[in-house]
């Protein structure tokens, strides 16, 4: 049996799936002030009448780190940055303790200028004086040569935690690396307290299964691994929905997923059945990060989005001002509008009408019209955002003639609709898009199902430079010598082996170690008219998706 739990903006959902299918599911209100409370409640509910020791695996997706970052409840971090020439690193200042240190590494990984030790010592001294215990250490091009980051790390021997840039991602992007390392350190303590509490709770309930945390790319990592990379747990909610949709529907074509919840609507895209991945990483609080994610977009339209009438114009969202009137709230919402026009018959329909009538009195527009216009407004926003997202994907840059000529154009004509209000909205969505709309069984807890069945994912970037004789896999901390005759086949083999070893070390089942090579480049480096070496890059991953065992259970 597998337990999946997803903390959402409005509800926290949990499911247990078993060989016979979905055996239990629950939905409780999210307690934002204390996430542990709703999580424990959901655990209790879903485990009622089930022997907790039969649970093989617990996967959870939580908004803890996301909220801490958005609400600025982070710990102060000492950020030590070695930038070198280029864009002035002061432009990327983050947090209150940001220090730039002289030193330069170039795009090949050559150390051009040594670290400025005086500046470094001064910065560390200042941080210590302020009582700072967690640090983020970042240097430009550290994924080509981590020597500056490693040196600074050594100097911080008394820190509680150090977030080191190159270990978080093999991708190039210095500003993103700064933000990622900063957030990782800023939520570290909070996250570790939380993960400890979760383990306690599960133990008290009698569940002894390993716990995994969902990531934004739709994969999981073991809880113990996530303790040093808590930033990986940000914005994993939409990814849970995507994996859940994949688990419940056999998607093979270009498609759109809409997860309509109480507060927001998440959009994701599929190309030939595979969810699209964000090339660089997720954006959070105006900062871009290197946290890999599925390509999703969250918009402020959901069942509980408040309806507003201003100057004869009816709008809805992006705020949620509590529940619908039908459920005892105080502001008319999209759910109330659906009640008024008769699409649904949800709880106290009389109160929905009363709410809409209050708006009618204020604006002079009839209740029916307000309700209709609010729904049209919400559907238009969803439609426009979906179209903009498809256009953006289709305009994505390509770098080779081969890619250009073989360029796939995304042309979805199917929508998979999940989330609380999915069933009631299906008809409206069909009308607005004119596409084929499918609502799977268990659509209302698809996200928790997604969390339950998600497999562990890892992605690595291997970088080999035969002229310098170095091979690096930055986020696995591999940095070794290679011979002159090292070639692209060796690189692919090495990337696969390093990945295998890593997956084994974190306890991933042999059957789940499906490695996929995403990109291979090999360039001849020439000086004068001589080939001096090869510059090889291999990017590979364990594809986000559904656990093997679960595929059988869900009969897909």
């Amino acid at each position: 049996m597998y337990l999946g739990l997803d903390v959402g903006g409005t509800h926290t959902d949990a499911v247990i799936i078993h060989r016979s299918g979905i055996v239990a599911h629950t939905k409780v209100a999210t307690t934002h002030h204390n996430l542990l409370e709703c999580i424990n409640q959901a655990f209790k509910n879903v485990l009622t009448g089930i022997d907790p020791s039969l649970i093989k695996r617990v996967n959870l997706s939580t908004t803890l780190t996301t909220n801490a970052i958005i609400e600025n409840k982070c710990e102060e971090v000492g950020v030590l940055v070695s930038g070198g020439p280029g864009i002035n690193p002061l432009h990327y200042s983050i947090g209150s303790q940001y220090y730039t240190i002289g030193g330069q590494i170039d795009h090949r990984g050559t150390e051009i200028t040594l670290l400025n030790l005086k500046q470094l010592e001064k910065a560390i001294k200042k941080c210590r004086k302020k009582g700072i215990k967690v640090f983020a250490v970042i240097s430009k091009f550290s994924t080509r040569n981590p020597v500056h980051e490693q040196y600074i790390q050594q100097k911080l021997d008394d820190a509680d935690f150090i977030s080191v840039g190159h270990t978080l991602s093999g991708n190039l992007n210095f500003p993103r690396r700064i933000a990622t390392a900063y957030y990782n350190a800023a939520v570290w303590r909070l996250y570790n307290k939380f993960s400890h509490a979760i383990e306690e709770s599960l133990r008290e309930l009698g569940a002894i299964a390993p716990v995994n945390i969902l990531k934004a790319d739709g994969g999981t990592i073991p809880l113990h691994v996530s303790r040093t990379v808590p930033v990986e747990s940000i914005l994993s909610g939409p990814a849970a929905s995507v994996i859940g949709t994949m688990a419940l529907c056999n998607i093979t074509e270009d498609a759109v997923m809409l997860d309509i919840g109480g507060t927001s609507c998440d959009i994701a895209l599929f190309a030939d059945g595979a969810p699209l991945i964000e090339k660089d990483g997720i954006r959070l609080n105006t900062h871009n990060t290197l946290v890999r994610s599925l390509k999703t977009k969250s918009i402020g339209i959901g069942g509980d989005s408040a309806i507003k009438v201003e100057g004869g114009t009816v709008t809805a969202g992006p705020q949620r001002l509590g529940m619908s009137m039908a459920e005892g709230g105080h502001n008319p919402t999209i759910i109330d509008a659906l009640n008024v026009i008769g699409t649904i018959n949800f709880k106290d329909t009389e109160r929905s009408r009363e709410g809409m009538y209050a708006l009618e009195k204020k604006s002079g527009i009839s209740s029916q019209d307000i309700a209709q216009q609010a729904i049209t407004y919400a559907l238009d926003i969803i439609y426009n955002e979906v179209m903009a997202m498809i256009d953006e994907v289709n305009a994505r840059p390509v770098y080779t003639i081969h890619e250009f000529l073989k360029g796939k154009v995304l042309k979805p004509k199917t929508i998979y609709l999940i989330g609380g209000p999915a069933k009631t909205l299906a008809h409206h969505i069909t009308q607005r898009f004119g596409w084929n709309v499918k609502v799977p069984q268990y659509a209302e807890v698809a996200n928790a199902i997604g969390a339950a069945v998600a497999r562990t994912t890892v992605d690595i970037e291997l970088f080999a430079d035969t002229q310098r004789g170095r091979l690096l896999v930055p986020n696995l901390n591999v940095n070794i010598r290679i011979p002159q005759h090292y070639d692209v086949d060796n690189a692919i083999e090495d990337a696969t082996n390093y990945m295998m070893q890593y997956l084994e070390s974190i306890g991933v089942d042999e059957k789940e170690r499906e490695i996929e090579i995403l990109q291979v480049y090999s360039f001849n480096m020439v000086e004068g008219f001589e080939t001096t070496g090869k510059n090889i890059r291999v990017h590979c991953q364990v594809k986000p998706g559904i656990l093997h065992q679960c595929r059988d259970i869900l009969k897909i």
């Binding site: 020439p85 002035n88 091009f141 992007n173 080779t400 250009f404 001849n524």
Partner: protein, 435 residues
């Protein structure tokens, strides 16, 4: 960070195309530029967007060039994508999606002339010219300035716009007496219908930031002010860099950024530049930041030393003289001095060597002297790969006489068997036909 002027970057490094594995124009050329731009997070800056190139059609090429035997034989897909990249850069600006754009594409194009038999100076088709003609066909733009800052004289672009008075072509380059292709002297000022709309600023070897910026200030900026173009295009070659292996100049990334700021071009198109590790990443970063109106003062090369790159006083003096002479000639062109009789042909005989493909070409170029329009153009060409062929161009704003003359030439050519191939470019009716 937020760009002061929005910038669209069309980045197409063609990671799977090379002239030859050891040739400077090879797969690796824009690799480190991409690494640098990615690591600096340039594409995350608000207001800087990255776009996919378009692919140029054969009509897009035939609107600009006479290709013999045909477009397919002298281009590969990479050329069509590179030209398509410039077209994308143009439409981004013309459709007001962005304020400015930078086509970081390869292969380059500024040595490709009006007639194409193959590759010269690593260029098959002139990607700037293809872009300019695309703009003129699809948008209402009359006057365009192309400022070529590549170290080599842009003899191809000069050739294409030699007779075009609505395109101001200004090239600053290492003096042709010391570098390929050898042309670009001060007295090369344009054909009889377009005198003074070709400007050449030959700079001596070892010119530093000071000299380039002086030429900008004393020549380029005043002439642009005088010409009042609707659109400025920068042929942004980066081989003036002090580390470039095939030239002898001392320009730096910071200097390129300053030049870019002074020029304030609407569209930049990458041309040459073969110091792919030591220069391109930094120069491209500097140009990008300058175009977006962002702080570039922190951009410099790992081995940058201002002291080593200080310009010799004698060189400064020499460049001053060059600037004065160029301006004197430019002013002289405005005087109603010696003029040919309208309705007559002005004829040039040209010999062209295609160094990349080892082709020799002989041309007889005739332009109708015309006061009303740019004049009908006729080029008879024969080369080591093609028998005698003919190109006829009726220009965009052709007067009735030149239009009629163009078709008369075509009828004559088609009635005999003198020419193996005949191409007509009829800009008035948007007809591009190969017979």
């Amino acid at each position: 960070m937020k760009a002061k002027s929005t910038l669209g970057i069309v980045f197409f490094p063609a990671f799977d195309w090379a002239i030859h594995p050891l040739h400077p124009e090879r797969e690796e050329r824009l690799l480190y530029t991409l690494d640098q731009l990615n690591e600096e997070g340039v594409f995350d800056i608000e207001g800087i967007m990255q776009y996919k190139p378009d692919i140029a059609s054969h009509d897009d090429i035939m609107r600009t060039h006479f290709c013999f035997p045909d477009v397919a034989k002298v281009t590969t897909e990479s050329h069509l994508i590179s030209a398509g990249g410039t077209i994308k850069a143009a439409t981004l600006v013309m459709d007001k999606i962005v304020n400015k754009s930078f086509a970081l594409v390869r292969p380059p194009g500024h040595h490709a002339m009006k007639v194409v038999h193959g590759a010269r100076g690593f260029c098959n088709i002139n990607i700037e010219a293809v872009m300019v003609e695309y703009i003129r066909e699809h948008y209402n733009v009359k006057k365009i300035a192309i400022v070529d800052t590549d170290c080599h004289h842009g003899d191809g672009t000069q050739d294409i716009y030699w007779h075009d008075r609505d395109v101001m072509y200004i090239s600053m380059h290492q003096d042709g007496r010391t570098l390929y292709p050898g042309t670009g002297a001060i007295h090369e000022l344009g054909g009889p219908n377009a005198l003074g709309t070709t400007i050449n600023i030959p700079l001596p070897p070892n010119t530093s930031d000071e000299g380039f910026l002086m030429a900008m200030e004393r020549v380029v900026v005043p002439i642009l002010k005088d010409f009042k173009p609707d659109l400025i295009i920068n042929s942004a070659g980066q081989d003036n860099h002090y580390s470039d292996p095939i030239t002898n100049m001392n320009f730096s990334a910071l200097g390129y950024a300053k030049l870019t700021e002074m020029l304030n071009a609407d569209i930049a198109v990458l041309e040459g530049g073969y110091s792919i590790q030591g220069a391109l990443p930094y120069v491209n970063l500097g140009i990008t930041l300058a175009m977006a109106g962002l702080d570039y003062l922190y951009v410099h090369e790992p081995d940058y030393s201002q002291k080593d790159l200080t310009q010799d006083k004698e060189i400064t003096k020499y460049i001053k003289r060059v600037c004065d002479q160029v301006m004197k000639r430019y002013e002289e062109c405005k005087k109603p001095s010696f003029k040919l009789m309208p309705g007559n042909y002005d004829v040039r005989k040209k010999e062209i060597y295609y160094d990349t493909d080892n082709i020799r070409e002989m041309q007889l170029e005739s332009i109708m002297v015309c006061e009303e329009c740019r004049g009908v153009l006729k080029i008879e060409t024969t080369s080591t790969v093609n028998p005698l062929s003919l190109g006829i161009e009726i220009p965009l704003d052709a007067c009735d006489r030149c239009q009629k003359e163009g078709y008369r030439l075509l009828d004559n050519a088609l009635s005999g068997d003198r020419y193996k191939y005949v191409q007509l470019i009829d800009r008035r009716n948007k007809k591009y036909v190969l017979y």
